[in-house]
Symmetry: C2
């Protein structure tokens, strides 16, 4: 592609400043207190799509937060790429662990990002990675090198389960018609080890409530005589894993895709250093399902994790109380062939069944989604692979990710097209955690790589 390098180096500072402006808006979709900020971000995205050369861009209302849509059609006979991303972010708490305010982006150097990284909530997930596509689009249109048609669909509810995206996609199949879907909402192994995510885990996220006595009780007068909802909840959660860290929910593993020795051997080739992994997390040992490696545990195996737990007195000092209620948020990561609705049902039935007498249990499903696998022999994957070879000088490694982008399975089902997951972040970028960041090098490398995907995908589609 002509002028690509020079265009990026010329506009680099502006690319950063524009992203900073987006990162300054706390678009936290999980917390209704930030509603106006989320809506404000949608407006900003719409304007940026118009500036990047879309023929038109619009705010599409939903029952939740709006979806920003934009498109540019140059020739109906050419292929169409649909870019998906999201403008909402995870809540930033625990705030006190951030070394700089989450919505005041700053650049700091890190061991993995010697050229500096942008520190802010959403820097990598997904404002930074989503905006790479907007800037790549700007380059292609402003230099008249856009080789095919393009559509953008940027939503504001990804971090809370994309509750309204499915309806939008179902109701706009013609509008969203495409030949391939392109998403940058995943990571790669390392800056010198490019990889493309070919698998995603599904998700089932539930909230449980255990109710004991109808009011908080004095732990001296009632302690030992009534079921303590917190003690009971800990027993129930503990029982969800056996001593080998297998999940004990009946039927949970029935449909799990079992990889062949060969496939597992192929996976094992990805560079991984256990000592560095433990050092980076400051843990003395890894922990997980017996019989699988760390990389297998967090990609090809389903998991069950408590994401939050609370009950009783959690303030300063001591309170000798037996709480009336205890709560937990629990999520299960699922692998291909596990159906999230079925798994949610299995969990609900099992959890209600194991409740001891003396308590009442309520299980409320939050959201979920199916897992997904991209075939590496597809045109989309081949085009992506060539693009990376061009800009990284290496063939990218196909990699299963432990994360979930539930709507990817939905896209295939509704739009009948495959999704290519070109992620440029690193696992160490602390997405969903305090001090989330995104390397400047990665940000620019993404902007540089994306146009080549357009080029090769158009050529391979002929």
């Amino acid at each position: 592609m002509k002028q690509l390098q020079s265009y990026i180096s010329e506009h680099k500072d502006r690319f950063l400043n524009e992203l900073f402006d987006l990162l300054k808006i706390p678009s936290i979709s999980a917390d209704s207190a930030y509603k106006n900020d989320v809506l404000k971000t949608a407006q900003a995205i719409k304007i940026s799509l118009e500036k990047a050369g879309c023929d038109r861009a619009e705010i599409c209302e939903t029952d939740g937060y709006p979806i920003v849509y934009g498109e540019k059609t140059i020739d109906k006979n050419l292929p169409t790429i649909l870019v998906y991303g999201h403008y909402d972010v995870q809540p930033p708490d625990p705030l006190d662990l951030w070394t700089s305010p989450p919505f005041e982006p700053v650049i700091k150097k890190t061991e993995k990002h010697p050229d500096g990284a942008i520190f802010a909530r959403g820097a990598c997930d997904d404002k930074g990675q989503m905006y790479m596509h907007v800037k790549a689009m700007e380059f292609m249109t402003s230099t008249n090198q856009l080789p095919c048609n393009v559509k953008f669909m940027i939503e504001g509810e990804e971090e809370v389960g994309s509750a309204n995206l499915a309806t939008f996609v179902k109701n706009n199949q013609e509008k969203l018609k495409n030949d391939v879907i392109l998403i940058s909402d995943t990571g790669m192994i390392a800056n010198d080890v490019p990889s493309i995510t070919t698998g995603l885990r599904g998700l089932s996220y539930v909230e449980v409530e255990v109710t004991g006595p109808n009011r908080d009780l004095h732990s001296g007068l009632y302690g030992g005589a009534v079921a303590n909802p917190i003690n009971v909840l800990t027993k129930m959660i503990a029982s969800l894993h056996d001593k080998n860290n297998h999940i004990t929910i009946p039927g949970f593993y029935d449909k799990v895709e079992n990889l062949s020795k060969e496939e597992r051997a192929e996976m094992a080739k990805a560079p991984f250093n256990l000592e560095n992994y433990k050092k980076a997390l400051d843990i003395d040992a890894v922990y997980g399902e017996v019989g699988y490696t760390t990389n297998e545990r967090n990609s090809i195996r389903p998991t069950l994790d408590v994401n939050g737990i609370w009950g009783g007195y959690i303030g300063e000092g001591a309170k000798t109380v037996i709480a009336s209620k205890a709560y937990a948020k629990i999520s299960m990561r699922l692998v291909p062939h596990q159906d999230w609705i079925e798994i949610t049902e299995l969990f609900k039935n099992h959890f209600e069944r194991i409740a001891p007498k003396g308590v009442k249990v309520k299980v409320t499903p939050h959201h979920g989604g199916q897992g997904y696998v991209t075939p590496i022999n597809s045109i989309g994957y081949q085009a992506a692979s060539k693009a990376y070879q061009n800009t990284f000088g290496k063939t990218p490694i196909p990699q299963r990710s432990g994360g979930s982008i539930p709507i990817v399975a939905l896209f295939e089902q509704e739009l009948k097209s495959k999704t290519i997951l070109m992620g440029f972040g690193l696992d160490s970028d602390a997405i969903h955690s305090p001090n989330e960041h995104f390397g400047i090098w990665n940000y620019l490398k993404g902007i540089e790589t994306i146009p080549y995907f357009y080029k090769y995908f158009t050529e391979l589609s002929k």
Copy 2:
């Protein structure tokens, strides 16, 4: 006692209004945000003691909240009664479960209190019960019927472990010298079944912290591959009880006082209706240590309860995070002969020992105290029993309480005198819970009964 009934009915409204004024001050010792209110309450108590006829009252500074001391000496040759109580209260949360604001006392009728009960935090524990003694004192002095010397020691840290009381008592043995200690900080079986508490459980209160990875992690990228501190904490807590709900900490039961068949049979005579008990708490079954009745489980047996637990994302909506840390507040109720310091040590060692690889565990002792037993053949108990017979028309039942007043054991050790626990509250008064209340009938009956204790104790001491 002359004029007792008439004095009470004449001053009843004032007795209530004065208590209301005390209840309006949120003297929450566990939360430093209320420091000024706690101090303000101490001042109010000092003034009320002076008004009640003490020769002198003073605010005694400690390293924490002050102790209010007051005394009236009529004759060095007469016995001296030391009244202990506390002016601090438990935190009121969960606030949303209160039917009226915790620090805006109101009178409402209840099934057990047809004449009305005072609803407010501290109404029963312990402002209401402590103030009965102040008003009884007022009656005896204003009608010249005080039969002996009296001393008051009202502290402001009972709800947080009386951290500074021990030092105060040790340093003021002469000042606090007495023949019997009188406390109303317990309950009785029912308004028509008076009882006197002859046993208290000890307490060990600890806080635990489990640390996994050095930061919060994305549950998709790391789920299943690292120890999740919340899952680990639930496993560790669950393991503290076996399937018979015995506590599994090695050595925990070594010194537990085992009651004889006869003693247990005596206890079993106390009226108790399991169906009403379950109905009052809206539970379908009781729960506890196999081999013991409900009344035994919450009085003569030690227990371990989680009083609070927290970790991860507990806000609105969903966050797919693996927390870096998880916490719990855990208290153990102890029975006579169990030493709380030794038990705390046993817990700490055990909890640290059962931590799996991949996490770090920290156990922080909060506070604690020893259990206590009052001999029913003591002069003090006999005087109290006669007082109840006078005002209730029935002989009170000696009863073991599951609650803890750690300083009672300390008093015996330092002041060499026995403590009489004349409690006028009911278990259903919801102390430490939302909607704590204290029956008006009980409040006035306490004021009526206390002077007779003074009378009989003085007579029996001759």
